[in-house]
């Protein structure tokens, strides 16, 4: 959209939007692990997202324009976040490979991550609003 490219894409809003999307998805992955803490044979899942978030921060030095569908895109498209099963051994109960302490820590970390993203996003919108109206409040 035109407005997007003029206003929003020049701010940190798209990056923070991605942070909220990713942390919210990771919350679901973690809560699924915790819900299955006593399921025999369950395999822990996690989300790979670092590369995706980095792509918002580290802008490529060169960007190629594609005039033909056979052109190789420069830079290469970033891998979207994906769910994977980390290779960890069975835990002490022998039921599955969920380490509840690790899950709870990940949960707390993810929660804070989301809160930071939400706070910054609110700040970003506030700044835009001030820029548009030209006054505070």
């Amino acid at each position: 959209m035109f407005l997007d490219s003029v206003i929003f894409n020049k701010t940190k809003i798209p990056a923070l939007n991605a942070v909220l999307d990713v942390t919210q998805l990771r919350q679901r992955v973690i809560s699924n692990n915790i819900a299955n803490v006593s399921t025999a044979g369950y395999r822990k899942q996690d989300l790979r997202f670092q590369e995706y978030l980095n792509s918002f921060v580290n802008k490529p030095a060169v960007e190629g324009t594609r005039t033909d569908s056979r052109h190789i895109p420069v830079p290469l498209p970033v891998r979207a976040p994906e769910v994977y099963e980390p290779e960890t051994g069975l835990n002490d109960t022998g039921l599955n490979n969920i380490d509840i302490d690790k899950e709870m820590t990940d949960l707390a970390e993810n929660h804070l991550h989301f809160n930071v993203g939400a706070r910054l996003l609110a700040g970003g919108f506030d700044g835009l609003r001030k820029a548009i109206t030209g006054r505070t409040g």
């Binding site: 679901r28 915790i34 819900a35 299955n36």
Partner: protein, 163 residues
């Protein structure tokens, strides 16, 4: 709504642990039960946890079908990347109840007991109170963990309303 799916997942965890707790309570309450409707001593109830089947949402299926229809040539651009929220389809946990056949029933010599066998022994259920207690503590901790996840998810939803 994607963000409410977390609440659903944690809710399946909470209710599974609660059902497990009910089974444990029933086992402990019936530790001395020698007579049941189906005959014989009480059989231990065990809750087996299963991973709930993966959810495929209508919107996801529609999106997939739509992009399949749109692309008629390998050179066509892929329209619409899946949103990050749509790649995970886990939906929590479910339980299945199993009545265990006794492997080592407790035998007590008490010829005056109304349910005593001809040799004077009474067959008590194969319920070990210590095992039940340990299961109970584990289940209670798992319940707490799910409750923590739930309150974290609630806080995230509230926080996103402040944007």
């Amino acid at each position: 709504m994607q963000i409410f799916d977390t609440l659903d997942i944690s809710a399946t965890g909470l209710s599974a642990q609660r059902r497990k707790m009910t089974a444990i309570a029933s086992n402990i309450a019936n530790v001395d039960t020698t007579r049941t409707d189906e005959g014989g001593p009480y059989k231990r109830r065990r809750m087996v946890m299963l991973e709930a089947p993966k959810l495929t949402k209508f919107s996801t299926m529609l999106e997939q079908t739509r992009s399949r229809l749109v692309r008629t040539n390998g050179g066509h651009m892929i329209e619409g990347e899946p949103r990050p929220g749509e790649i995970f389809t886990g939906s929590g946990v479910m339980t299945q109840e199993v009545r265990e056949e006794p492997t080592k029933p407790r035998m007590v010599l008490d010829p005056n007991h109304p349910d005593a066998r001809e040799d004077g022994y009474v067959v008590y259920p194969d319920v070990n109170v210590v095992t039940e207690m340990v299961d109970m503590i584990a289940s209670s901790r798992a319940y707490e963990a799910n409750a923590t996840v739930l309150s974290a998810a609630k806080d995230m939803i509230n926080r996103s309303l402040e944007i």
